[in-house]
């Protein structure tokens, strides 16, 4: 069953078409990677799925429910994180998580229980009382991930979350995504780091100049392009598309 069904999604910014008639499904229990060069339309697509941007045309359905008509219910089950997000600098990590729990409609007890789980999972104990402005970049990323999944959503949308992170933290995040996949969550993420695609993804969606050019998995991508590795396969695919 599809967690998200996207049909003929289109987004125009004045004269610039950022996303041009994209359609795909995101299933539960799989990790879908969104690949493409800079300005391809990956972030725009993900922002529309997350409800941050309004599509110019097209539909997005979550479990058969239209986003516009059920956006509060859908957002209650959606976890969204981008590389350029930040938390409130004057709040501690704990206060932010509590605030987000309240916004999700949780009772305080449920919020605190969930925070305890996240503390164990992402080693937040040392930074819980610190303000966001006092954290290192790795600590910030862990806080942001915790903030995005405070409500244990079934659908995760991550946009280049491992950008500028070291290998260890990136690995932790990737392992986390794998665990969530094992729990049956639907995950879509975008990245420039091809090794992550290789490590994580079950499906690859390649977007170039706003269009969906390929829908495959990484083994098929390597095999069909006669490449040695995914990097080579990706460059070949881009070249092919440019031609």
């Amino acid at each position: 069953m599809s967690a998200i069904k996207i049909k003929n999604l289109h987004k125009r910014f004045q004269d610039n078409v950022a996303v041009d008639d994209i359609s795909f499904d995101i299933p539960y229990g799989k990790i879908t990677a969104l690949l493409g060069s800079n300005g391809a339309g990956k972030s725009t697509t993900l922002n529309m799925i997350a409800g941050i941007l309004i599509p110019t045309s097209g539909t997005i359905e979550f479990g058969g429910k239209n986003f516009n008509d059920h956006y509060k219910e859908i957002k209650s089950n959606l976890g969204y994180l981008t590389c350029d997000m930040a938390l409130y600098e004057s709040f501690s990590v704990l206060e932010t998580l509590q605030l987000l729990g309240e916004l999700k409609g949780f009772t305080r007890k449920r919020t605190m229980d969930r925070i305890e789980e996240l503390v164990d999972r992402f080693s937040l104990a040392e930074i819980l009382e610190k303000h966001y402005s006092e954290l290192s970049s790795g600590q910030k990323q862990r806080s942001l991930i915790s903030a995005s999944i405070i409500h244990d959503p079934d659908i995760l949308i991550f946009d280049e979350v491992t950008a500028s992170l070291d290998l260890i933290i990136s690995k932790n995040i990737m392992d986390f995504l794998k665990e969530e996949k094992e729990r049956g969550k639907a995950i879509i993420f975008s990245t420039h780091i091809l090794s992550e695609v290789e490590y994580l993804s079950d499906r690859i969606l390649m977007i170039e100049k706003g269009k969906l050019v390929k829908e495959t998995d990484y083994r098929e991508l390597i095999r069909s392009s006669n490449s040695k590795n995914i990097t080579e396969a990706f460059y070949k695919a881009l070249k092919e598309e440019a031609a």
């Binding site: 941050i52 959606l78 969204y80 709040f91 987000l100 916004l103």
Partner: protein, 723 residues
Amino acid sequence: MISIRNIKVVFKKEFLQIMRDKSALFTNFFVPLFGLPLYLILILEATSYESAQKDAPIKDDSVFKISYQGDVDQELIEHLSLNKKIELTKVESSATEKEIIDYRNKLKRMLSLEAKINSFKDNIKQEKAVLKENHEDYAKAQADFSETLKLLKDKFSSKADLHMAIFTNEDGIRVTYFFHSEESKVSSAALRLTKKEIKKHEKEMVKTFKETLKIQQKDLEPFYFREVNIDKSPSVFLKIIGGGIGGGILFLLLIATFNPTINTTIGERDQNTFKVLLMNPLSLHEIFIGKYLNVALQGMMTLIPYSIQFLILYAWGNSFFLFDQIPPVSGLKLLTLILTTVSSAMLISSMCFLACSFAKTRVQAQSLITLLMFSIAIPLGTVGVMGVKLSKVTALIPLINTPLATENLMQLTPDYLSIAIGMITNLGASLILIWFSLGAFLVQWKGKSDSKGLSDLLDSKRRKSKFLTPAHAFLAFALAFLGYTYGSLVLSTLKIELLLYLFSPILFCLGTAIFITNYSGLDLSKIIKWKGISRIYAFKLTIAAFSLSLMFNLLLKNSIVLELFKVDFPPIFESNQFVSILGYFLLFAVIPGFVEEILFRGIIFNGFRKQYSFLISTIVSSLLFGIIHFSMFKFGHTFVIGLFLAFVYEKRGLFSCIAFHTLFNSFGLIFGLNDFSSKLIASATPIHCWIIIPSALVLSSFLIVSKKNDPNEIEDRSYKEVA
């Protein structure tokens, strides 16, 4: 569908962000601190102008000119000549007595007809014909009169304010006719005269002449003055207040609030935190409304204190306003007093609600709400303390401690029975609330579902802990409160002996501090750290204490000490003034500085700081610091000083707090004991406040804004060390 709950959460987030943002705090609180003196200046200038207009006397240099003719009594002339306000001129006039009598008669007729016309105006329809007829007669009479007036005017001196025509009748009695022309110089002056002034002049003149001339009343004609219209337009003050505040609120809610709301939204977007909100099940409307409400609240929070202050200033008939405009019986005064009490409670309550928003658990919120109730009980209980002397409540707001309010205050002698009843009520309510609050904290501290409250705490075998807790803080406060309440009772009831009796509550408070510190296992020497003091730092301390003390004295318009005594300082030791002065410094500067800082920063602030944020600890310790001075009518500025001292403690340690507090009180004493400075302060104008207040704030901030590696920066906080 818009969810109120979501709006509430967004509002709460916005409120917390604003309260933690230094620039927003500066705009919301420090700018009004500058704005209030400016506002005061504008108001005072406007009302001074208005009162100057109303009270404008006839020129002091003007003399009352009298011309006279006829067979004058030299003795009268000599008597009048002695009065420097009277200028006499003899004129040669050929106006005869007949002409004057004729004038009088015509004047009488005209006046009576005028009166008749006025009385006919009520029944204008029925009396129209009669009115018309009388108008015709009046016109004729007016014309006759004008003719006669012109005749006489030509014969009188046109420069005279008053003309006297004296004739001796057949019986040898002088008959004097007084009148003046309506076109004489004094008429234009008379137009500026109020009715009161007219009557006053008339009475004085009649009195003078009666005494001198021994003439019977019936022979004196009243002066003919035109009706004087006093300007009845609404006072400038009311216009400014009504238009200013009403318009201000409307402007604030409808116009000025949208722009900051939009700016905060744009700010969030630029800081990349807006997506954090958007990823939640919130609509844009809910986000915007939550932000809007917070901005509106920030604006109201600065507007409300202003409004209350000015309402109270106006109603109390501050010396800048005309007191006789206020009705003697006071629906208004009572309303003002209620407003004063309620506003004090509101200000304290709002601080407590703010503190409640930081509560992490239900128990904490319960405890803080208990503190809130405690804070309301104190102001209301203070009314009971003073019995029916409600006017003493006005001193709750420092800025209205005007000379007039203080005068009223000191004229009211305390009623011992009402004080006793009020004190019992006050203390009883406070103890009950302390019990509950201690109980709530003990539940949290011990993790038990119930507790015996104070009895648990006092069980020394089980309660010996290694660090201070809020429970210790409350216990210290409760005991100190007893000591201070006793001290204030002593102050308000006894005279010469009081200063000696004051030693006992001071010793009681000191004992409390020692008891609590021992009980908690805290080593007092560890929290009073001395790292040596540089000359620059000593200078900073002195300047900060001096400027803040001057600022508060200016705001209170009198020395802090003079508030207590108002009359001459009773000497401690009559035989030796130097020892008396030393005694004052000891009692009101050195000892309070030492004892209060140990109690409020050393114990109470520390008691909260381990478990709560700096903000909560600051507010609670300052509230309690202010409350302890409540019965001495000093809550307002004491609370503010408490906030400042909390910052000093956090930055510099307890020694600095003790030093600052001692210096601050010392300067207050100097301003009060010294005739010169106390008069200087009493004569300060708003312009002085406008300069001194911001300067004091800036100078004192140097104490809490320290450079890195400042040798006086205390590196470790005592609450951490104690733990």
